[in-house]
Symmetry: none
Subunit: 121 residues, 4 copies
DNA sequence: GTGGTCTAGACCACC
DNA sequence: GTGGTCTAGACCACG
């Protein structure tokens, strides 16, 4: 995995875990890979992983079982919220920036469609 | 102006200046407010402003005239590139994140339209 | 190390690092001395070192690994380009000045050979 | 005329005047253009011109006649020295940098010849 | 310990 | 007054 130097790695890892959950790569109730395992696969320090997981536990997305590991919550409301928040955040950020650049609603949609066409066409 | 803690202030200032240029608030050839002035209005240290402006000078977006101030380039190609890059960057970031979340092209466009409707409707 | 007052220290440090790389004192992939270490040995402020290294990172000559240090790139193309640019820059500057003084091509070569003879003879 | 932002303009103007003298564009005894005239043609502030001329007067290259202007010295020794110094300085700077890059004497001469061939060939 | 960012304050070159 | 450079010293993210 690649990290953007300009934003804290632990935040990027948070997003990464959420992404795994949303896409189903990490199913509800599933065990999250061990901290040391994640540290290896993401080539990141253990402390950095810990920080990211702690935040997710705090948010209720993961539940930590002492001595056994971390698990994805099975609470559907929380999971739905995670998904919705991830999407909204991405879209909102884009919207704000494009508004700042003076684009109209139509121009925004057009810009997105153009980009999608370029990437997938 | 408000700054996001998670990304370097000097980068946000770069974006801010570019935005001013793109929206026409800073016309081609216009003088950029004095470094010390910007420092006051943005409530940021002079050096931080300098760092942002230096990068823009390096990129050719601004030209620095010693003892006189910084000015927006009049080179149309550069200006067009600035605008295009700003839009593409915003859209690309959004696209990448939504792809990571498993959204289809249609779902992406829908999500954007929904958000726009919510904000502007 | 000695610095020339008339040109920014950070630029001289850039050149110094490049020189170390070109001569092999800093091998490809090798770790550059810590910022604070360089600051001590070059008797220069840490920020000044940072500015020089940042430019080299930007240029791809160095790669920065957060919390671990700065390393010389292993990309051969980049390294070759660094070497070539350093030589060309030095020669070009000399050439331009001598042309401005009205010297012929032969006179230039002669002047260089004379100087070399004086220094090494 | 173009100036390199990285070295003081007044030094570049000094070099420029010396160059004019060496190439004969300013003959021995000739009057140097008025300060305000130079300021216009070089698009530089009057004070900056003054500073450069003062240094040359100090060095004996120019002689200042109150109320009448500045004139190129007619002292042949001084003029010869100016020329020699200009050449030596250019060559020495190049030599030092190439030595620092580990080039042999032959390689230096070769690099210069290559560059000349590229420019004039 | 290592790099990255920011602040505060100073000095210089130039207009 | 304007930008450019440098210093000193602090704090944060990361290993």
């Amino acid at each position: 995995m690649e990290f953007d130097d300009k934003v804290p790695i632990y935040l990027q890892i948070e997003d990464y875990i959420c992404q795994q959950i949303i896409t189903g790569a990490l199913a509800p109730g599933a065990q999250v890979p061990a901290v040391r395992q994640l540290a290896v696969t993401l080539t990141v320090n253990v402390n950095t992983i810990q920080r990211a997981l702690s935040a997710l536990v705090e948010a209720g997305v993961l539940v930590s079982k002492r001595g056994r590991g971390n698990f994805v919550t099975t609470d559907e409301k929380t999971l739905a919220a995670v998904r919705q928040k991830a999407i909204t955040t991405a879209v909102a950020q884009c919207y704000e920036r494009l508004v700042g650049l003076g684009l109209s609603a139509d121009a925004m949609v057009q810009a997105l469609q153009d980009y999608i066409a370029k990437m997938e066409g």
